[in-house]
């Protein structure tokens, strides 16, 4: 009997919660974040420089360990029209700063950017994304910001301030970086860093497409480039192992990245959402090298056999069979992609069968989350949307530049559209997922070009939940890479996924009507830990046990 069969049996016996009926009212109350005056300034120009339509990321992290999620927002910069060398994006100007907002106990936010030492983003860096992880295992979350230009690693000093340690750490990258994430690919207990890079683009080779109706050029107009893997040397420095690991063997148009151990061999694998070429699945060989195997594993092309314009990606289990699946957002007229993990290391595209495809035909998706928003035991989807072209209607009048988000509720593996709580159309880009008010119901923060971020507060309900905070000891302190099973559902511990963004690292599970839970954790160290009869509706810290 497969896990899926078991779950179906449990469901039929009433041991798993029944899915609630679709409510006409939204799960979310949408609105601005109180105290957040950040505007994502992408600076669109008449030259249609590709960078200006691609930012920007958002991270939900508890930087000061007060138990409340704070928000870090990545800004673009000032793009001159036309751009000239030497490049400057005027990031010294406060309107172009990245911003850190500390959450107060009353749910409002205070801008602490300057006092935290995060105001200097570097004039030559046009901001893109953000990754969060405790790379030095000191108990405080560090921040890595990606850019067109140089990336920056901010070490969290533990006193509310950060220090730019990029030069010492050796993680500046260069070129055009997009999404990034921390993972422990060699299970040595230290978080490594993966950075996707989009294109080999610069002012000199920039071009405008569309002749009489100028617009942004597709990625195929520019050379592909490599992604970067940095190995953590455990002394505050990183080594670029892109070439010896095999990551640099493949050039692509990387935008999104997500991690999970898809074949259960105990090593975290890497999936890169590529724009308009085959997707990349880097299988971790367990010896410091990776083999790209997306095409042979069935995770490179969509169900129509086409190359997705991959933007955002999430690598979690949507059908509760215990295996991580892939959901990928992309451009309109091809459905958002679902690669179902069939086991034995293979995937099959199932966006049509799951109903996911038909929800997305006209939309352009970016940030994506697979979270159990209604706590019914099945992970739902939230996608922030908006087309690449600000003049897309000139090309196809059925499409829109600004779109509301998509929320789809998971009905035992089949997705149904739900009310997102806002029909306000925006040029959405980043999205991060977490429980901002610690009520046990997952919230969302989104970014959109030229606008303030939007908060989607989960209205909550009566069903039960459990949120697990991992504390690695032998494994990395964040517990990234752990496989956590709660009442038959599985999550892979990571803050990485979505688009350019970083999620709440705490692991949230909807329990339905169950008032307690059995927890099983497979730590990256190989330690197996089980907790039985854990009371529902609480945040529980699980420290890695000492013994295998």
């Amino acid at each position: 009997m497969t896990r899926r069969d078991l779950l179906r049996l449990l469901f039929s016996l009433g041991l798993l919660p029944a899915a609630p009926k679709l409510k006409s009212e939204s799960l979310f109350q949408a609105g601005p974040l109180k105290g957040v005056d950040f505007v994502l300034r992408n600076s669109p120009t008449s030259r249609k420089y590709l960078i200006e339509t691609m930012p920007g990321g958002v991270a939900l992290l508890d930087y000061n360990n007060d138990g409340l999620l704070d928000i870090f927002l990545v800004n673009g910069g000032h793009v001159r029209d036309p751009m000239r060398s030497p490049l400057s994006f005027d990031r010294h100007d406060p309107v172009y700063w990245n911003r850190l907002y500390r959450q107060n106990k009353d749910g409002t936010f205070t801008d602490v950017t300057e006092q935290a030492g995060l105001s200097n983003a570097g004039d030559v860096n046009y901001g893109m994304g953000v990754a969060v992880g405790d790379y030095d295992n000191d108990g405080f979350s560090d921040i890595y910001v990606t850019s067109f230009g140089k990336n920056v690693l901010y070490h969290n000093n533990g006193d509310g301030t950060f220090t730019d340690v990029t030069a010492k750490a050796g993680v500046a990258a260069g070129g055009w970086s997009a999404s990034a994430g921390f993972l422990d690919y060699d299970n040595d207990g230290k978080l490594d860093l993966f950075v996707t890079r989009y294109l080999d683009w610069n002012v000199e080779n920039s071009k405008t497409c569309g002749a009489e109706r100028p617009t942004y050029c597709p990625p195929g107009e520019f050379p592909a480039t490599t992604n970067i893997l940095y190995h953590n040397r455990a002394d505050g420095t990183f080594e670029d192992v892109s070439v010896p690991s095999g990551i640099a063997a493949k050039k692509g148009h990387g935008l999104g990245v997500a991690f999970a151990d898809y074949d259960g061999d105990g090593y975290t694998d890497i999936f890169v959402a590529n724009d308009a070429i085959e997707q990349f699945l880097f299988h971790n060989n367990g010896n410091g090298t990776f083999t790209e195997c997306a095409l042979d594993s069935g995770a490179a092309l969509n169900e129509n056999g086409k190359m997705p314009s991959g933007m955002g990606v999430v690598f979690q289990d949507y059908d509760n069979d215990g295996l991580p699946d892939l959901l990928i957002t992309q451009l309109p007229h091809e459905p958002y992609v679902v690669f179902h993990n069939d086991g034995r290391g293979s995937f099959s595209a199932q966006e049509l069968e799951t109903g996911f495809g038909v929800l997305s035909g006209k939309s352009s998706g970016w940030g994506i989350g697979l979270e159990d928003f209604d706590n019914d035991g099945w992970k739902d989807v939230f996608i922030v949307q908006g087309h690449v072209f600000d003049n897309v209607q000139m090309y196809d009048s059925s499409l829109r530049y600004r779109e509301p988000p998509l929320v789809a509720l998971n009905r035992q593996g089949h997705f149904e559209k739900a009310n997102p709580g806002s029909d306000l159309p925006v040029a959405g880009r980043g999205a991060a997922f977490g429980d901002l008010n610690n009520d046990g119901w997952m919230d969302v923060v989104t970014t959109s070009l030229g606008e303030r971020p939007q908060l989607y507060v989960n209205r909550g309900g009566r069903l039960h939940w459990l949120t697990i905070i991992l504390r690695g000891v032998r494994s990395n302190r964040d517990g990234y890479g752990a496989r956590v099973q709660v009442n038959g559902q599985v999550r892979f511990a990571t803050a990485t996924g979505s688009y350019l963004s970083s999620n709440d690292k705490r692991l949230h599970f909807g329990l339905g009507s169950a008032e307690s839970a059995d927890i099983e954790i497979e730590w990256p160290s190989g330690i197996h830990q089980a907790l039985r009869g854990v009371k529902a509706d609480q945040f529980i810290v699980v420290e890695e046990s000492e013994h295998l």
């Binding site: 069935g298 049509l352 035909g361 006209k362 009048s397």
Partner: protein, 358 residues
């Protein structure tokens, strides 16, 4: 085109144009011909002009003068002597042929037509008719010319232009004379569809349907508008109505099946695609969609359908897609070697498609 067709046999035939030429004029005529043979066209023209002054009723002299100007590509100067030659020898085919070309080259397309008709120069005649705004006649004559020279790119180009103009004229007439008819709205709908103005296209088709709900093909086209804008549910609805209207229409059944497939309704899609395959067997697109629809519920039937696509298509893009779909089926069945072989075939076909000139 004109240069290509010009002059081929005119000079040989020209000798028969005239009989009696005054001796002095004959000497000048011969001198002109000699100069022409030396490629000294200016000298030839001078000689022919003097001959024409001496023999103003001799058609051959004017013909040779016009011909020399044509060789010099001075079509404007060629026209008067050729017209005079035609007056003097109204039945001479070479004169009319040359005059027709000269007039056409100078943009007097309507004037050229009777001369080209007389000599049955269908290619040049079609071009003249196209330029004179007679696309229907142009299409007919260019097709006649293409029957003799089917690979002539110039003729194909002008035929394409004539076809477009004919279509445009018909549409203009339809829209100006019958704007509120079903066909008028349908034509507008097609125009909007081509330029990807899908909402506007759908509106036109809806208006057409309101006027003639039973007009075959309308719902098929409207369904395609919805499909192009990824409105699969509405597309399926229209295709379904078309299948009711035309139960024997294989395309309508195929499109309905594909729209259902895009909605993830695999069982319904497979039923409709099987029906389409019965109505018109061995359509590769139908079989490919059928294979995908049956991949989960009936892998054997899917294998059969996709295998048939490969038999029919061999090395096309669709054959590659069929290999890819088969690999997915066999991977699920743990038939890894078979899947690996199919992926190899997929890659081979992809490589062929990427080859320069492919």
């Amino acid at each position: 085109m004109i240069h290509v067709l010009l002059f081929a046999s005119l000079l040989l035939q020209a000798q028969s144009v005239e009989s009696a030429v005054p001796p002095e004029a004959a000497t000048l005529l011969q001198s002109g011909v000699d100069a022409e043979n030396r490629n000294d066209l200016d000298q030839a023209i001078t000689a022919f002009r003097k001959a024409a002054d001496l023999a103003p009723s001799t058609g051959l002299v004017f013909f040779r003068l016009g011909d020399a100007y044509m060789k010099k590509r001075d079509y404007a100067e060629a026209i008067p002597p050729l017209k005079r030659a035609a007056e003097l020898n109204p039945d001479s085919l070479p004169v009319h042929q040359l005059l027709g070309y000269a007039l056409l080259a100078e943009g007097y397309a309507s004037d050229a037509i009777p001369h080209l008709e007389m000599v049955r120069e269908y290619g040049a005649l079609g071009i003249a008719q196209l330029q004179a705004g007679q696309p229907a006649e142009a299409v007919a004559n260019l097709q006649t010319a293409l029957a003799k020279s089917p690979e002539d790119p110039d003729l194909l180009y002008y035929l394409s232009r004539a076809g477009t103009l004919l279509s445009s004229q018909s549409l203009d007439k339809l829209l100006s004379a019958f704007p509120a008819t079903a066909r008028g709205h349908q034509a507008l709908g097609q125009n909007y569809y081509v330029v990807k103005m899908f909402p506007q296209a759908a509106k036109e088709y809806e208006q057409a349907l309101a006027l003639r709900p039973d007009l075959p093909g309308l719902r098929l086209e409207l369904g395609q508008v919805y499909a192009a804008s990824s409105d699969w549910e509405q597309a399926a609805e229209q295709f379904r109505e078309e299948t009711k209207l035309q139960p024997g229409n294989a395309e309508a059944a195929y499109r309905l099946g594909d729209a259902l497939l895009q909605q993830g309704k695999m069982k319904e899609a497979a039923e409709e695609l099987r029906r389409s395959n019965l109505l018109r067997p061995d359509m590769p697109e139908t079989l490919y969609s059928l294979g995908r629809a049956e991949a989960v519920s009936d892998p054997t039937a899917a294998e059969h359908a996709l295998g048939r696509v490969i038999e029919l298509e061999k090395q096309t893009f669709l054959a590659g897609q069929a290999y890819l779909a088969l690999a997915g089926i066999h991977r699920k069945q743990d038939k890894t070697e078979q899947a690996a072989h199919e992926m190899q075939e997929y890659r081979r076909i992809q490589a062929l498609a990427l080859r320069p000139g492919a």
